[in-house]
Symmetry: C2
Subunit: 459 residues, 2 copies
């Protein structure tokens, strides 16, 4: 049963399992105690810190273990914001950061600070120039992911780090998706990662803070982990995290080549096998194991459900798969189609045959969903009126786009179709459909019910 | 090798180990995902929540899992303080709470709030009356441990909960030390515990918040755990925590009787075997597995070291064993001797023979340390002057008390000895020595160097 959602959480690496087992016997005591069980726990913790620091590329005393990547992000951001309070309360981050970064930014705004979200291009990447121009006199901290978790695009960390250094602003790099593949280049100031993304156990995040960065841990005082991560240390999991990071790193170069070939196969074959598909994310500067595409005229939840029935576990950034019924903020920031969105992220060891079987199954799954939703097989060309209004209020993604596609052939070239919709995804998906189908997106207007999205037929 | 420090961290229970192993295979995926691995993880998480809630005595939707007991304390306190902000910013807690509670109180003070520490008697217990009288119009939250972690004394939770209810103040109970022994009686509003204290794995705390308590989670928003505990859930550890809580509970009644008899043996025999010892904590209303005593004229660190060499792992609240060189705040609040402090906390399954061997070894260990420090074997009675001054400035616990004991016989009954000391522990230990030896503690005065502690010989 192929699991293709390593970017959410990877299955436990065999080395992590072995290390965890061993450390359960040796690492359960309080490492602050002076007796033998405590000393043994302390030795394990120290050794894990050294190993993890080596993998990260920092000094052991610059690295602490947190209970998760999210907590590492929260602590890292709040610690620098407090430590550099005198500089100002301005935060810079890309618009496609992990939600934990954006939520920390929202918390800052709630407390009177400000945040600039640096936009990304259609591939999901920031430009170093745009990033640099967002830095201000009062910028306390800049955040940038090493690679995007939804579309796999790598960010220009080295150049952004240079710009930050020139401006005297510390840069926090969220390396959650990439640390298993290699260390992060560039002069970063803080680095964050999460063990369960590389096959380590849940319950372990990393927070590295370079010497010299002004850092004031927030929350009640606690002696553990240099005062930067409160609570009793989870030593067995920490040991397993450090051991498995080292293990995946020794396999990373070969595995990256192998998985990159499998992902290339998906990138090439999906648009050939499935009509009306957009593969998103940078085709070159990207994580080796991750590919994302969106399919017109289908809803992500049904595609996920059908793929699950066929034995494939993938995820989606479509609005129908989120609790808030809004499309993923990453796809929105990129301005690409969000409907029928599928993210495939291959865990190490994925077999080529499983990818082939996925490519066999996918076309039928998408076609089946489209058929049930009454999606247009092709654009009908029988103009009836100069302009048409489609009322899709109350209908959810992908229905508004399907209704649009059904009638675009009913207006002459130069005519318009206006889609009335109150679905958040329509704002993203109607322009994306226009881009994919070579039609002109005129814009949106407020309407009595929902929003009016105007499309001009140009082909 | 007997480990007698279960109150710090208990060895992993066999049931916890089995459950953890099984859940590593089934519980590594993201429980928010819709595919089979995610659904499986969600089922495990839901089942663990139900089991833990049953053990706690609350509804499953009132309980969340946090990364540690400390984090549960921090989140519980900050959530109620924010939720009841309009009522006021006053916190009430006993003076002998776990440091995580007191540090949360210090953080509140740093933000302009206030905190009342309810004093305890010499046994370490608050009185419900004193506690009730600390509640004010602007009290947002009251905190009380179910039993003390250093001396084992049980607190009058039921009566305090009644007083809190009458005053309309929610009560947070820190049940970290007692939850393995049974549910907490009384109408508490929030309850906190930590799995590694009952033989569960590290990395899991519990936070129960009764319906109706105004609660506003602090920190950046996160969807996990009802928004009350950010970060990817550590499901294998959570499963192991819930399973082992259930397991230790089924053994708790029998094991409590057995360990209580072993602890009674220590409580009775230590003062018979070792001269100048004070057993602290309530002799009746106490945890079944924990006993603490203090030995005059020795330093805790050396005793711990010698006991460790003899194969016994215990802990201490003496100043010399803390990083800040101050005696434990619990012993200070109780006003009992802190020097030569030894806490014995027996894990379930402790053999009677190990306790017997501890009682064989202890007298020699204490005598050896006393001999090396030149402690007085008995009070010499050859009065020389009406008053004496002992200069112990620069000397650490237990030297000031040893110097005092050496010269008390050199003044006549009615005469005074003044000890000059700059050691924090002296403030606690000189009065405690007077109480133990039947001498009168006159008081302290500022001195040119350190503090002058005045003692009158009365016997």
């Amino acid at each position: 049963m192929p699991y293709f959602d390593a970017a959410s959480s990877a299955p436990l690496h065999p080395v992590a399992r072995q290390a965890l087992q061993a450390a359960l016997d040796e690492g359960w005591a309080d490492p602050a105690r002076l007796y033998r069980e405590g000393r043994r726990a302390r030795l394990l913790l120290d050794a894990a810190r050294e190993a993890a620091a080596e993998s990260v590329g920092c000094r052991p005393d610059e690295l602490v273990f947190t209970p998760s990547g999210t907590r590492a992000i929260h602590s890292g951001i709040s610690g620098v914001l407090a430590g550099r309070r005198r500089v100002g309360r301005h935060l810079v981050a890309s618009a496609v950061e992990h939600s934990s970064v954006l939520h920390a930014g929202a918390a800052l705004r709630g407390e009177g600070g400000t945040m600039t979200e640096v936009p990304v291009d259609r591939s999901g990447a920031v430009s170093a120039e745009a990033y640099a121009s967002a830095l201000r006199e009062d910028t306390a901290l800049a955040c940038l992911q090493s690679a995007n978790h939804e579309v796999g695009t790598e960010q220009p960390v080295t150049q952004v780090a240079e710009a930050c250094r020139a401006a005297g602003v510390p840069l926090l790099v969220d390396a959650a998706q990439s640390l298993g593949w290699g260390p992060v280049d560039g002069a970063w100031s803080l680095l964050v990662a999460s063990a369960h993304k590389w096959g380590g156990p849940a319950g372990v995040g990393l927070l590295a803070v370079r010497k010299g960065v002004r850092f004031a841990p927030q929350g009640p005082a606690d002696e553990r982990e240099s005062g930067r991560a409160a609570g009793f240390e989870n030593i067995p999991a920490i040991v397993a995290a450090a051991a498995s990071l080292r293990a995946v790193r020794t396999e990373a170069a070969d595995e990256a080549v192998r998985l990159r070939a499998l992902v290339d196969r998906i990138r090439t074959r999906v648009p050939e096998l499935v009509p009306d598909v957009e593969v998103v994310g940078d085709p070159e500067r990207r994580l080796p194991h991750l590919v994302t595409f969106s399919c017109l005229y289908v809803d992500g939840e049904t595609v996920l459900h059908e793929l699950d029935r066929a034995g494939f576990s993938v995820s989606s950034g479509s609005s129908c798969t989120s609790s808030t019924l809004t499309p993923s903020h990453v796809l929105r920031a990129m301005g690409v189609l969000s409907e029928g969105n599928v993210r495939v992220s291959l865990p190490p060891g994925t077999a080529g045959e499983d990818v082939d079987r996925f490519l066999e199954v996918l076309p039928g799954v998408v076609a089946g969903v489209r058929e049930r939703l009454g999606a247009p097989a092709s654009v009908v060309s029988s103009p009836a009126a100069d302009s048409l209004v489609v009322d899709a209020v109350g209908k959810r993604c992908p229905i508004p786009v399907i209704e649009l596609a059904k009638v675009i052939g009913d207006v002459p070239v130069g005519g318009t179709v206006t889609v009335l919709s109150d679905d958040e995804a329509a704002r993203l998906d109607i322009p994306a459909w226009c881009e994919m189908r070579g039609q002109e997106y005129v814009g949106e207007e407020p309407a009595e019910r929902g929003v009016a999205y105007v499309v001009r037929r140009v082909s």
